[in-house]
Structures are given as structure tokens and as C-alpha cells.
């Protein structure tokens, strides 16, 4: 089965983010594939391995630095990659349209996304692409199985879990699940250098959401150590009740 996996290059989640006026201070920051996208890619690779056939194609929107992210995905086992060159803004719909324009004609039964990108945390591009391409969509999928033209998706929801069936072709937005994304082996890294990475300009609409400020979070007021050991508990409870008004 052919699967398209949409990925994004984001700052490593361990990175300390410093704000620099209208953007973030990028020097000294390591970048990586957004972790949710890695879950999606892992799911696609497992599907291909289980079926014994099919092609896994990576698609991203970004500048040429995203080549590095795509090479990593190829090293993990994807077959080829497409880099749509264009600006990524806070207008998720503009991003979704650029991706949908590329994906529209595809006959791949599955488009996989990470549930959200670990930079803007918008959690919207996957279902938007689904809506624009007329495909059904399930979000927050931790694992799924494919059979009889359907995907059976497992989903964790408020205080419980769901099993959802969706007709293919479909869009699934993946979250963390039982399968840890694989590390690229040396052989994979060597092979990735020879895999096709196509670059073409994206059609990105003028953003209709403008970033007007980017600031660091307000510092929390200095906290205090109430005391040591269980003897400090009554004072803690008193403070929570009387000072914080939290109990």
C-alpha cells in the first residue's frame, strides 16, 4: 500500500527557545523531524513491511534546510521525498492548501500526518488537508490496522478510548502510540543519499493570520519551599487554602 507522510522540520523539543523580536533565536538550535511526524512515518514503514509492497513518500513544505529532515526520513526507510519550497506561516490553512495542491491527484490510500507540529502547536493542517481533498479523517490515532478497504483506528480520548473505522482513501493524524520511531541505521543513512528527493516551488497563498508579537512566557513569581518532609504538609494545605485560594 502506498502511503504519503507529511512531515515538518522543527526545533528539537529539548531546545531552549529564545525569542528574538518577531521570531526565535535560531543559532545554536538543533532541528529535527517533529516527533508526531516520526510516529506517522514509523506507522507507514510498518504498514509497508507487513504488506511487503508499496511506497512511502515524504512531503514537506519549507525552505531548503528541510532537505535534512527529509534525508532523515529516507534513512529511516521512506522511498522518496518531495520538498515543496515555500514559506510556512501561522496560517495553517495556507500550509494545508499548498500541501493539498500537491496531494490532490494522489491515489495513495493513506495520507498520514503527525497530530501537530512541535513548533507552532496548531494541530490543524491534517484535518484541513483532508477537508480540502475530500477525504475522511481521524485525528489523535495512536495505532491502526488496515483491512478490506478500511482503517481501524485506536484513539485515546477524554477519559477513555475509542475504536474508529474509516473508509479508505483517508487521512490519519497520528499521536504517540505503542511503536517508538526507529533510529536510522548506517546502512539506511548511506542508502538515503541515493534516494530521490524532488524539489519544486509550492503555491502558498498570502497568509490571513499575521504574527504581531512573539514573547517569552511571563516569568512565574518566585516560589517558595514550604518545608521539609511530611511535617510541612499542614502549612502547605493552609497556604493552598488561604493564600492561593486553590482548595
Amino acid at each position: 500500500m502506498n502511503v504519503i507522510v507529511c512531515v515538518k522540520r522543527v526545533p528539537d523539543t529539548e531546545a531552549r527557545i529564545r525569542v528574538d523580536g518577531a521570531g526565535i533565536e535560531t543559532s545554536g538550535i538543533k532541528y529535527d523531524m517533529s516527533p508526531y511526524d516520526a510516529f506517522a512515518l514509523e506507522a507507514a514503514l510498518r504498514l509497508k513491511e507487513a504488506a511487503g509492497d508499496g511506497e512511502v513518500v515524504l512531503v514537506t513544505l519549507g525552505d531548503t534546510s528541510s532537505q535534512e529532515t527529509l534525508r532523515k526520513g529516507l534513512a529511516m526507510g521512506a522511498d522518496r521525498a518531495i520538498l515543496l519550497t515555500g514559506e510556512v506561516t501561522f496560517d495553517g490553512l495556507a500550509t494545508a492548501k499548498a500541501l493539498a495542491a500537491e496531494l490532490e491527484g494522489s491515489d495513495a490510500p493513506l495520507f498520514l500526518f503527525g497530530i501537530k507540529a512541535a513548533d507552532d502547536d496548531q494541530q490543524q493542517v491534517g484535518p484541513m488537508v483532508a477537508t480540502l481533498t475530500g477525504r475522511p479523517c481521524v485525528t489523535g490515532v495512536s495505532s491502526f490496522e488496515v483491512a478490506d478497504g478500511k482503517a481501524v483506528c485506536h484513539r485515546e480520548v477524554e477519559g477513555g478510548s475509542e475504536v474508529i473505522e474509516v473508509d479508505l482513501p483517508a487521512v490519519l493524524c497520528m499521536t504517540k502510540g505503542p511503536n517508538e520511531p526507529r533510529l536510522a541505521a548506517l546502512k539506511g543513512i548511506m542508502a538515503a543519499k541515493k534516494k530521490p528527493l524532488e524539489e519544486k516551488p509550492a503555491v502558498v497563498a498570502e497568509p490571513r493570520v499575521r504574527l504581531t508579537a512573539l514573547v517569552e512566557p511571563p516569568a512565574r513569581p518566585e516560589g517558595r519551599i514550604v518545608g521539609e518532609g511530611p511535617g510541612a504538609v499542614p502549612e502547605l494545605v493552609r497556604l493552598l487554602r488561604e493564600e492561593a485560594n486553590a482548595l
Partner: protein, 329 residues
């Protein structure tokens, strides 16, 4: 027209804090824009019975679409009806709650209407007739302010981040009967399991009790359950990434980047050292309490109150004291 619509969620016919918060935000925005406040809900027949309560937080008109197939959320049914109602209403802005349902539905509605969406916002303002929002990015390591150049502005608001003001609006309830063609659904719920009766999602609870590696082993979570039960209702258990990765707790409980970002009124971090990923996910909590044996643990840098000590002694005592306090109320 500068009317504002709140899409409100009912669960078993009840409108909870997520619904009240969405209406509250719609009401303050409508006040600035000079329009009225409408609310829209979908549900099974009878769902409208308790919708009038939303008048108390500012809803002037509450439209409830009732159909036996709408008692539980189905994205395909909901997106058609909600997008049509928004189109007909000509709203300046539409407010969703960023609950599981809202996060799933809002992007579909925005794409259907061809207007942008800002998700999980923590403040909403009107700036010279257009809508401006602030939202955490990089899991709370920074805050972005965004201004909309399109109408309606579609926004989902973070649970617990807004306190709806008491207002006395008409709260008139109108029911309508949307057409639903269940046979056309390409997405179907096969099974739905509740973790336990009254379980609350960590992203929505007003109090969260989180445990980390300091808990030593999964069976020790009974201590945290004891604290949770002492605290009353609307309390959820959370977990650090380390214990989720170790398989001690389900991923649905993970707080922080690659998990959930939470903003409860009260957050207990028990045996959690405070990796940057975890801090990003909980630093917007109103009050943070940390219990850790290591006085140098980074969690104490964001905690309002800390106890340095053995959690196996501190937590049972804390549960006891809180239970006694609640019993005296």
C-alpha cells in the same frame, strides 16, 4: 454584522465548563465588536433541555440541533451542520473550546469555510474591529500574538484559561432538526470505552496530580489516586514523559511536549524533576505544588509551593490533611 458564535459541547445533555468558557469568550468579544452572542449545540433529542443555563454567561440565542444520530460526535455530520450555520449567520468570529472534540472539529470547519483558524488560544481581543489572539507556541516556551485578516475569525480556546463572567442574557433556546444521512458517514465509531466512571481528561481537569520517575514503580500510583480522591471531583491524573515511555502510565496522561499541555487551577508535580519538556506543558497552571526529595530539582523553579522530602511520606499525609479539610467544609 459583528455577532459572535460559540460552538458549545454537550455531554449527555449537560453543558459543562468548556461550554461556559466558550460562551464567556464570545460574550466579551461581542461586547467589544458591538454584536450579539449566539451559541450553537448539537445533540440527541432533548439536548436542548438544559441549554438555557448558557444565558447566565452571556448567550442571547442558543440554537440546538437535535437528531438521534447527533448524541455522540461524528466529524462528518457535525462539520456539515456547523459550517452551514456559520455561513448563514454571517458571524465576525466563532469560538470553539479546544477540547478533544473542538480540536478535531474546528480545523475541518475552517477549511470548509475557507477561513483561517487559531487553536488553543489563551487570550482573545478585538483590535480596531478585527480579532487578535495570543497562544502558546513551542509547547508554552513562547507566546505568539496573531491578528486575523479574514472573517469569521475562527478560534479555539484552551480549557481553564478563561473565567466566564456572570451575565444575564436572554438565553432563549431554539431547537432545529438538521438533516443527517448516517449512511454517508465514512468515519464510524465502532467502540467507545470509558476509562472509569467520572474520569476527567488531564487537559481539561481543574486539578491535576502528576507523577514522575520518583514514584519508583507503577503500583505506587495508588498514592496519587488517594490524593486525587481526597481532592474531590474534576481531578485528573497526569504523568511525566519518562514514566509514559517506561510503560507505567498511558500516553493520554502525559503532560508536556509530545503529550498534553495543561492549564489547571492547581497542579501537583510529585516525584517529577522538571525536564524542560514537562515544564513547557504545565507552566501556565495557576498554582503549582512540587514534592521532590531533590531540593535542586528544576521543578522547584516553577513551583509556587514546594516540599522537599520523601514523597512516600508526604503524599499520604497530604491526602489525609486535604480530606480532613474537605470533610470540614
Amino acid at each position: 454584522m459583528a455577532n459572535v458564535l460559540a460552538f458549545v459541547e454537550q455531554r449527555d445533555g449537560q453543558f459543562g465548563s468548556a461550554a461556559r468558557e466558550a460562551v464567556g469568550v464570545a460574550a466579551s468579544l461581542a461586547e467589544s465588536l458591538g454584536g450579539s452572542v449566539h451559541a450553537l449545540a448539537l445533540g440527541a433529542p432533548g439536548a436542548s433541555a438544559s441549554a438555557g443555563v448558557l444565558g447566565a454567561v452571556g448567550a442571547e440565542v442558543i440554537a440546538v440541533g437535535e437528531h438521534e444520530a447527533l448524541g455522540e460526535y461524528n466529524p462528518e455530520a457535525y462539520v456539515d451542520i456547523v459550517a452551514d450555520r456559520i455561513r448563514e449567520g454571517g458571524y465576525a468570529a466563532v469560538i470553539f473550546a479546544a477540547t478533544g472534540l473542538g480540536k478535531d472539529l474546528a480545523p475541518r470547519v475552517a477549511a470548509r469555510l475557507d477561513v483561517p483558524l487559531a487553536t488553543d488560544v489563551t487570550s482573545v481581543d478585538a483590535v480596531g474591529g478585527s480579532v487578535s489572539v495570543t497562544r502558546p507556541v513551542f509547547s508554552g516556551k513562547a507566546f505568539a500574538t496573531l491578528e486575523f485578516d479574514a472573517a469569521p475569525a475562527i478560534v479555539s480556546i484552551r480549557p481553564n484559561a478563561f473565567q466566564p463572567a456572570e451575565r444575564s442574557a436572554a438565553g432563549g433556546v431554539e431547537t432545529f432538526a438538521p438533516a443527517v444521512d448516517r449512511s454517508a458517514w465514512r468515519v464510524r465509531v465502532v467502540e467507545r470505552k470509558s476509562a472509569s466512571e467520572g474520569a476527567v481528561d488531564v487537559a481539561e481537569a481543574s486539578v491535576v496530580v502528576s507523577g514522575g520517575r520518583g514514584m519508583k514503580e507503577p503500583s505506587n500510583w495508588s498514592l496519587l489516586e488517594g490524593l486525587r480522591d481526597a481532592l474531590g471531583s474534576d481531578v485528573a491524573l497526569g504523568a511525566s514523559r519518562a514514566v509514559v515511555d517506561a510503560g507505567w502510565r498511558p500516553h493520554g496522561e502525559q503532560v508536556g511536549q509530545t503529550g498534553k499541555t495543561v492549564a489547571p487551577k492547581l497542579y501537583f508535580a510529585v516525584g517529577i524533576s522538571g525536564a524542560i519538556q514537562h515544564l513547557a506543558g504545565m507552566r501556565t497552571a495557576k498554582t503549582i505544588v512540587a514534592i521532590n526529595r531533590d531540593a535542586d530539582a528544576p521543578i522547584f523553579s516553577v513551583a509556587d509551593y514546594g516540599i522537599v522530602g520523601d514523597l512516600f511520606e508526604v503524599v499520604p499525609r497530604l491526602a489525609e490533611e486535604i480530606a480532613a479539610l474537605k470533610a470540614g467544609d
